[in-house]
Amino acid sequence: MPVRSRVKTFTMDGQDVSGHESETILEIARQNDIDIPTLCQLDGLSIIGACRLCLVEVVGWNKLVPACATYVEEGMEVVTNSERLQNYRRMIIEMLFAEGNHVCSVCVSNGNCSLQYLATKLGMDYVRYPYLNPDRTVDMSHERFVMDHNRCILCTRCVRVCDEIEGAHTWDVEGRGYKSHLITDLDIPWGDSRTCTSCGKCMNVCPTGAIVEKGKPAGEMIKRREFLGYLTKMRGVNNNE
């Protein structure tokens, strides 16, 4: 019997790289200092492949694949940053800005926001798609936190951290398409939720100013995500399996 190789060698942007068969393109990229933008992905949370920012090209494959959810294969030629990918990524960020009511200047997360950071990094100088100006609410009912739906990009990091790490499953998504929105429990005000433990994990993993602490002035909300690393390590959890 031939021996099966579990380590795959392949190229990424022309560079020779290798990875274990259980590793994704994104993990290998990060090991090799190749920067692939991500938004819904967060180490320690399950992979959902929803934001589509980490899409990469693999030569000979007819579809773009999400780097976060694609395992490495022998001999694959990965292209992480073609002009086409750059364009698509910028368009996706523009779509997010057009979809919600992201007014950076008066946001508590101004300057500490993943969406804003990616907009700059991916070269968004303006949003070409018409702004949708949706009528969204702000839930101030929780004693410590605020949920501002205007700034939510539906990455569902909060849903996953609450379910997978905290075990409370207070958050979930309701509605379809562009009417999708987050809810707490069975769509009751956050402050009335019986499952919420007020742990604040959702607030800390939220990439934008959607879930924030009360009482923060504009630009002074800084999220702390270190807990995810050690919690997952201590528990030996791998949410991808």
Partner: protein
Amino acid sequence: MTIYDTLQGMAETEHDRQAQFENEMWVCLASGCASQNADQLADRLADLVKEQELEEKVNVKCVGCMGLCATGPHVTVKPAGQHYSEVRPEDAEALVEAAKTGEPYEPLYEPEYSQFFDRQTRIVLENAGSVDPESLEDYLVHDGYKALNIALTEMSPDEIIQEITNSGLRGRGGGGYPTGLKWSTVAKAESDTKYVICNADEGDPGAFMDRSVLESDPYRILEGMTIAAFAVGASKGHIYVRAEYPLAIDRLNKAIRRAKRENLLGNEILGTPFNFSIEIRLGAGAFVCGEETALIASIEGKRGQPRPRPPYPADYGLWGEPTLINNVETLANIAPIIRNGSDWYASFGTESSKGTKVFALTGQVNNTGLIEVPMGITLREIVYDIGGGAPDGRAVKAVQTGGPSGGCIPEHMLDLPVDFESLREVGSMMGSGGMIVMDDTASMLEVARFFMEFSMTESCGKCIPCRVGTKQMYDLLGRIESGVGTYRDLQLLRELCDVTQHTSLCGLGQSAPNPVLSTLHFFEDEYLSLLTDVEAAAD
């Protein structure tokens, strides 16, 4: 005596019972006709037969869909073969009279409908409109469960898969993936637990192929699933059917109960060591749950959203176990293939697309309804020979296939053969079988916007390009249609088509731009003529 021998005995008894009648009156009781009081009509006919003491001469039989759904309720009188449409309960007496005398009842008689039926080839629908869907005995008379008996007693799982592969059958849900290959992938997956799922979450606007099959011939699906389960090594099956199909659900439930009682489901099927049970799961009406990973999530009780593939369900499906998911129509082809052999099946259709396809022919066409045609037939034959062309002598402008994932094919291309590749090459797709005919009054922009609205409201909202892209495209189409759109809007529209097509997570988003792309390709002038700055467009 084996269980199958007993079933054969039941079939003979039923056959003899039916043979004693001089006349049979088949009343369609599928959803279309039932909604027009066909049930009252059937009751009235039965009452009259009783009153006139004709019970031994005339058999009133409730059957499934005959296909001409727009002009129901339908009644066929056998053996004369007289076909009546738009029959109301008060017409019952005249029909009984006609059956007695053999003279057709002229006011409702539709002799020209033979044109509608003559060009069809019925494999999936072979029992639809002639067999009582609620009678196992009637199904048995029509070779029911013959295929399962062959499969379980004469064939190995590998042989069954080889037979399906040889038949050239491809998935009828839209994608056209080779069914044999799918089966062999699931068969190869290593696990003690495997599942078979019948995807009956039919959701394309205007499409009702699967509903008709389920309502007209539920045992055929159970038989197909059971053969599939034996072939891939599954012991548990689910039929995921939308809750909007109450009659289909009711008939499936009855069929499952009966099949269990007769050892056609459950433990030791037909006396063999093979066990397989089927459970029905109801969908709550989300179109995206027709996507296989979303469907699985929904069965598991989660929000119906797709996930990235791979892993494919064949490897990692329901509850993480290898899962075979086939569409209703695909499964409806299994029994005839096993019964008649793969060579027989492969004799229908084209080189790459074998067999037949069921279409729901609708729109501006004289004969609307459900048809089954051999692959390779041209769109022109369907629209003109079967459909009878557009009403009021109008010209046909285009034909839309593939529902919200498909495209519009202009009149001058109607000689295109209907097969998976040809339709894809012109920017449309086979889809699950919706076919909408549009006459020269149709606005292609309106068509594109209609389908975009559908995709927009049915997007699950998980990935950004589909969630936002469909909304933006819908708004832009609206702007252009209302005459305030600019050339820049058109450019944005094209750009959004591109990004949504290539970056969306699942097939819904990836194919959502197709109605726009195909109308833009074939009818660009209609878009340009509506722009406010036509000069810019001309540059």
